[in-house]
């Protein structure tokens, strides 16, 4: 009897505590979960998407995004009175003069002016700050001098600065760009370009962005709490220049990376917006939460890539020239059924890719998609067909078999298998989606008598293996940094750190089959082409060159696009006025809770 009483008391106690903790939030507090504890929310140092979302709520740049009546995103003047037209200088450089709005303030009430931008940008680009995204400033005059290092890694010009100046009254900011940059306003809306307050940053260069007292911004919100691995809480900033437009008083960013727990909290109504869901629940969630499960376009491509310096995949008695290697790679690419991968494995509305530069990037007219003009003919047909019909896929496979036969591999028409194709390794990082694609490729190729072994690697190991070029074929993916195709093309120059294919590196540096006369190296052709694009001031010509660059990339067969990424998130019907950008950033400052 006594035991029973005790049991009842304990149960009651537990219920009381539980109910006390069951605060589901009110209309003034929005709880969202966009990722785990961010590595940093310093605008200069951040390189994560969830960190960027927090930063755009705590800081505001010269230019920002707003959603127009039709639901499309627009770049609008934020801290400036208008978006200026650049003037071409005599030396071929371009000058922008920005006029700042009156009475701009930091969240602590102190005055903000053009000097804060001069400071923030020079800080971000300084190698000693060690910002991942320092290269976002490579369009600004002076960047090369600031970042130049000698062979030992020492900075050559420690006193060099970007060509950015503030007027004496702090009202005007003059920026000199080394060439015409059509996407410069986009860059200005990027977190790395946001101002930081000199006095707090100089006092605690590392810690300032981790403490509430020193994390001073100029955005719609200010941080009032950061509990490690638990939550970051933002409160409306009364000193924000457009504070009247901000409706929700508090935003709580719950910090978690367990998809199951995140979904549980969305389902029970605690979180109103979540940015990740368990992979194996995608198809059921799409049905169950039709209006809340959003699949949005994202600037990115999931692809496989060959290592041009690893010849183990080619039989050296049969495949002897780089041209033949290209054919082998193109054939292996053509055999892949991208529609199957997107529909059956991805299941998240991914679009099968027929080019490396993804959907969502526009031509100079601002309307036509870049991909509408891709492909060798420039007609938007892509570099191979991804039409979702059996005939189209069969034609691709027939073409692949033909290519391999041309090169000299033996195809047994009875068994429909190649008899002498060497086996090879495919590396991927652990993750259910990546694993499923690897399994599909393995069974696909084995149907043609081609043995592909899968090597699964832990993320850190995988990154290193890929960077070093110690692999044959690897999974890969790339998300663009801004709305311009160059973000997908300049990564393949021979000096780029993101050039996992190893174009123009080591042995491939001596391969001279590129250019008009097919006698030039990768550095002599592709690197030059990118240089030309970057210095071109004629937008139409510039885009023509970018299509040329993509043609060149795709001809190598070393890049095998699979699908264009989508951004999956779930948003509660209670949350109105929220929008997301193709970079995956979530904008909550103009949202309301119903």
């Amino acid at each position: 009897m006594k035991l029973r009483k005790l049991f009842v008391v304990v149960l009651l106690l537990i219920s009381v505590i539980a109910l006390a903790g069951c605060k589901k939030g009110d209309k003034d507090t929005l709880v969202v979960c966009l990722g785990p504890n961010p590595a940093t929310i310093d605008p200069a140092l951040n390189s994560s998407v969830d960190g960027a979302t927090m930063i755009i709520h705590a800081f505001t740049g010269l230019v920002g995004y707003q959603q127009n009546d039709k639901g499309a995103l627009e770049l609008v003047p934020e801290l400036v009175t208008e978006l200026p037209v650049p003037t071409k200088l005599q030396d071929g450089k371009y000058q922008y003069v920005f006029t700042l709005k009156d009475d701009l303030k930091w969240s602590d009430g102190s005055k903000l002016d053009a000097n804060d931008f001069v400071y923030a940008w020079n800080r971000a680009v300084n190698p000693n700050t060690a910002a991942d995204y320092a290269y976002m400033f490579d369009v600004v005059d002076g960047y090369n001098a600031v970042t130049e290092v000698d062979d030992d890694g020492n900075i050559v010009n420690p006193n060099a600065k970007l060509n950015v100046t503030a007027s004496a009254d702090g009202k005007k900011l003059t920026v000199i760009l080394s060439s015409n940059v059509p996407y410069f306003f986009e860059l200005l809306a990027f977190p790395t370009y946001m101002p930081v307050k000199k006095s707090v940053v100089d006092a605690e260069p590392d810690k300032w962005a981790t403490e509430v007292d020193t994390y001073i911004g100029n955005g719609p919100y200010k941080m009032i709490e950061w509990v490690q691995d638990s939550k970051i809480v933002f409160e409306k900033n009364p000193n924000y220049h457009n504070a009247d437009a901000v409706k929700i008083k508090k935003i709580e960013f719950a910090l978690s990376d367990d998809d199951g727990a995140i979904l549980a909290n969305y389902k029970n109504g605690t979180y109103k917006l979540i940015d990740s869901v368990p992979n194996d629940e995608i198809s059921s969630l799409r049905k169950e939460y039709k209006d809340e499960f959003i699949i949005a376009g994202q600037l990115g491509t999931y692809y496989l890539n060959f290592n041009v310096n690893d010849l183990s995949i080619y039989d050296d008695k049969i495949v002897t020239t780089e041209e033949e290697r290209q054919k082998v790679r193109l054939a292996l690419s053509l055999l892949i059924d991208r529609n199957y991968i997107a529909d059956e494995i991805g299941q998240a509305g991914q679009l099968p890719a027929n080019s490396f530069v993804p959907i969502g990037l526009t031509e100079p007219d601002g309307k036509t998609e870049f991909i509408a003009k891709n492909g060798p003919k420039g007609d938007g047909a892509g570099y191979y067909s991804v039409e979702n019909t059996d005939e189209a896929y069969a034609a691709n496979c027939a073409e692949a078999i033909k290519l391999l036969q041309e090169v000299g591999y033996t195809f047994d028409t009875k068994t429909k298998k190649f008899t002498n194709f060497p086996s090879f390794y495919y590396i991927t990082n652990t993750g259910t989606g990546h694993q499923a694609i690897a399994n599909y490729l393995q069974s696909l190729y084995s149907g043609y008598g081609i043995i592909m072994s899968i090597v699964n690697q832990e993320w850190g190991v995988f990154l290193e293996t890929r960077k070093q070029g110690n692999y044959t074929v690897a999974r890969n993916g790339w998300l663009g940094d801004y709305n311009d195709p160059i973000s997908f093309l300049d990564m393949w120059t021979s000096t780029s750190g993101n050039n996992d294919v190893q174009f123009g590196k080591d042995a491939h540096a001596n391969v001279k089959i590129y250019g008009k006369d097919k006698n030039q190296s990768w550095a002599e052709t592709y690197d030059k082409l990118i240089e030309q694009i970057k210095s071109s001031s004629d937008p139409v010509k510039r885009f023509e060159l970018m299509h040329q660059a993509e043609d060149m990339l795709m001809t190598t067969g070393a890049i095998v696009p699979i699908y264009y990424y989508t951004d999956l998130y779930m948003v509660s019907p209670d949350l109105k006025g929220f929008f997301a950008s193709p970079l995956g950033y979530k904008f909550l400052m103009y949202a309301e809770l119903k």
């Binding site: 219920s15 060690a130 590392d206 962005a209 691995d229 727990a261 549980a264 909290n265």
Partner: protein
């Protein structure tokens, strides 16, 4: 305290220091031998940035020198800054995480011992009756089910379907389910342990003598039987705490509890060298200390144990 015990403790403390030192050395070199690095990401940073980062954190020095510098730091309890969480000190990350982990781990351990011993004793006393069988079936089930399954199951039942508790482990109420999930395995294990050792003790001559002399049943159980039946349970406390420490890695993740487990796992994925070292040293020291304490307790409860 007798001198044998003092000598024993001294010996064990010295051994513990050697153990932790070995852990530090092995972890340091293995960690550096594993491919990947803290500044390697999907997008490559420029060479200038990479050099600046390596110089900033001393990773440009030879490995041996880095090791010595690290050892020097540890002596003064300086674990350095995290390489990945910019602006955060390793010691701060550990202390914040450990506070939460210790809270749920501690409560789970106490709960497991109290409930385990109670249920085990009841089962032994009601041997072969319905109560005994129910307790045994349940405890067998909980011993056999891994904590991540129990945790996921509880999450769906209590936090999503019935919404009795929040699914966020960073609130007080949200800690209840993780604590229960974490304590079920050790509780069931202790139940089974107590039951069998209790049964053994209850069959001993001195218990029969006590009963024959007319000692009250409750006194026989609590004063004479339980004390001796608890010795095997005590030996389990060390391994149990180790289990709770490691088990909480999984449970913390499932319930988004901001504990040390999460930092530990993430530090390895991120190659956050200083945080890997800090958490490893901390956890290793904790386990070594817990084992030492258990052994001493063991001696205090059972004077027959000889340390020489």
């Amino acid at each position: 305290m007798d001198s044998k015990l003092a000598y024993y403790i001294l010996k064990r403390v010295l051994l513990a220091i050697v153990t932790v030192f070995l852990v530090i050395t092995i972890t340091f070199f293995v960690m550096n031998a594993v491919p990947g690095g803290p500044f390697l990401g999907e997008k490559a940073v420029t060479e200038a940035v990479m050099k600046a980062l390596e110089a900033k954190y001393g990773l440009d020095k030879p490995l041996g020198e880095q090791y010595l510098t690290y050892l020097k730091g540890i002596i003064t309890f300086d674990f350095g800054p995290s390489l990945k969480l910019r602006g955060k000190e390793v010691i701060d990350i550990i202390s914040v995480g450990f506070k939460t982990s210790a809270k749920i781990g501690g409560i789970a351990a106490v709960l497991a011992v109290i409930l385990g011993v109670t249920l085990g004793s009841i089962a032994a006393i009601k041997r072969n009756k319905f109560t005994d069988k129910t307790i045994m079936v349940l405890s067998t089930a909980f011993v056999a089910t891994p904590s991540f399954i129990i945790a996921s199951f509880f999450l769906i039942i209590f936090c999503v379907n019935y919404q009795i508790f929040p699914a966020r482990g960073d609130t007080t109420a949200g800690l209840i389910v993780p604590i229960i999930a974490l304590s079920l395995y050790p509780m069931s294990y202790i139940t089974r342990l107590t039951r069998s050792s209790m049964l053994e003790v209850l069959g001993q001559d001195y218990i029969r003598t006590a009963r024959a002399k007319g000692v009250k049943s409750s006194k026989v159980i609590f004063k004479h039987a339980l004390k001796n039946a608890l010795i095997p349970v005590l030996t389990y406390i060390g391994p149990m705490l180790a289990y709770i420490l490691t088990g909480s890695l999984v449970v913390e993740r499932i319930f988004s509890v901001p504990g040390l487990g999460r930092s530990f796992v993430n530090s390895i994925t991120n190659r956050d060298y200083t945080l890997i070292m800090g958490t490893t040293i901390f956890l290793a020291s904790l386990i070594v200390i817990l084992n030492l304490v258990t052994d001493i307790l063991y001696k205090l409860v059972d004077p027959r144990i000889d340390f020489s």
